[in-house]
Symmetry: C2
């Protein structure tokens, strides 16, 4: 068994990506080809081809998104806030290097500016070239690619954005500060007086403490805070959470969803807020 630092192992002549999950559990994906593999100043960036999930973006050995299910996460992190805000014009995406969130935001013709602030240019390059199922070879002129630190970018703006989407990786490595209260406070400042933010808040099963902390911060900072979930097959445990902070609006516009999507539907936009009993309970503490 030969292993390299990116989690690839050769077992009986086949290549496998072995991902450590939630301690004491590992997922092994058979890998047919490694299409891209580079070390950026921030992390190791890899795109591999797997028979089950198709192409997969792997950062520091952790699967981030795949051809099979990348759309689920990207549709859910974008269409929920954009169906709550009645008139979004300026949208900021922090992270989102796979370009899938920007691609979904670009489906709204009324949006005039989409700023995408990703710290790692190599991620965007790899996904645009090797992961078109997720990035959609995004080339909308309203998208401004800004390769910078999301924290620094947000702190420069006041009363500027209608919707801010925090599409971060896990709270280890380059994304750790994107889970801190001071960051959400800066986001609140950067939003207009009726603005909405959303962030991914990890697995309610394996990282309930992070979801509770995130919800706690947004609950303190915003008049309206809500949690919703989606099922993302490649994330451990399947169930994934998102947390919204909103200054004014809270309900999804009924009967208005008309975008072409694979996972999101009008029903689902409204019903994703129905939480399992254990989760309701955990968030009411």
């Amino acid at each position: 068994m030969v292993e390299n630092p990116q989690g690839l192992k050769t077992i009986d002549g086949s290549t496998w990506l072995i991902e450590d999950e939630a301690e004491n559990m590992k997922i092994q994906y058979r890998v047919d080809d490694v299409l891209y593999s580079e070390k950026s100043p921030f992390q190791h960036v890899m795109v591999v081809n797997s028979p089950v999930f198709g192409r997969m973006l792997v950062l520091d050995g952790i699967v981030q998104t795949t051809s099979l299910d990348g759309h689920i996460y990207n549709e859910m992190i974008t269409h929920v806030p954009l169906s709550i805000h009645p008139n979004p014009k300026r949208v900021l995406i922090i992270g989102g290097g796979d370009c899938g969130a920007a691609r979904e935001v670009a489906k709204y013709s009324e949006i005039e500016e989409i700023d995408m602030v990703e710290i790692d240019e190599l991620v965007v390059k790899a996904c645009q070239e090797y992961l078109p199922a997720v990035s959609g070879n995004l080339s909308d002129p309203r998208v401004n690619f800004i390769f910078d630190d999301g924290l620094k970018h947000v702190s420069k703006y006041k009363d500027h954005y209608d919707v801010i989407i925090v599409d971060s990786s896990d709270p280890i490595g380059p994304a750790v500060q994107l889970f801190e209260k001071s960051f959400y406070a800066n986001i609140k400042e950067a939003l207009k007086e009726d603005g909405i933010m959303v962030c991914q808040s990890q697995s309610p099963v394996f990282h309930l403490n992070i979801l509770q902390q995130t919800y706690g911060y947004l609950h303190e900072l915003f008049p309206i805070s809500r949690v919703y979930t989606a099922v993302v097959p490649t994330y451990p445990g399947g169930m994934w959470s998102f947390t919204l902070g909103s200054k004014k609006y809270q309900e999804v516009n009924a009967h208005s969803f008309d975008k072409e999507t694979k996972y999101v539907s009008q029903d689902l936009l409204q019903q994703c807020f129905a939480l399992p009993a254990f989760l309701k309970d955990a968030l009411s503490k």
Copy 2:
């Protein structure tokens, strides 16, 4: 690396259960102890202790249910049909050897008889002794344990049950006939004129063909057929499907759910029918 037929391997001095999923993908669970391991006439039955999921029931090397999340599947397969039927008296569970479905059904005081027909007595014995988090050491006098073939049992009854719950394992090994149309036709006969059946219909992500086939059969056989989903972290892909066939009733009773549960809530009972766009599409073909 030493392997035995039940999927246990010793790697660097630790024991792991290695489960093959959907070809070309494996999940490795660290195992602290093997609490029970016997070969029955039908399959290999094992209960192990794992640090992430607690105790796990493993049949022929495949994880069936765990202390951490067994309640999700069992609550969803029971409370949905029992919240649709206004007055269930006689309930049949086919399979359900972990006793979790019978435990949930027993929460309804108006139910008079709960027949549980499980082909493999060893599964019930193992779960009652080593998996109390799921089985709840079930000892309700209304539960009749019948160790027999579910197909044979069902074909003996006409116009008898209010609700039939098909809680089978995967469509390989002893459960393969529980996915056939003739079996569902017999279930229809065994149900009263306003009866309801439900079955687990596998992962919409990895076994969409089985869900489509099951929904197709129930759609042909019953005036009302509906699909709902839940998130079961230990099942591959997380998202799991259930299919209902009903002779008369279709709506969940609003505002009436009062059982003590960990996953199911009144909201969730109604909203579990909101399907992702790809699934709606796949079922309308």
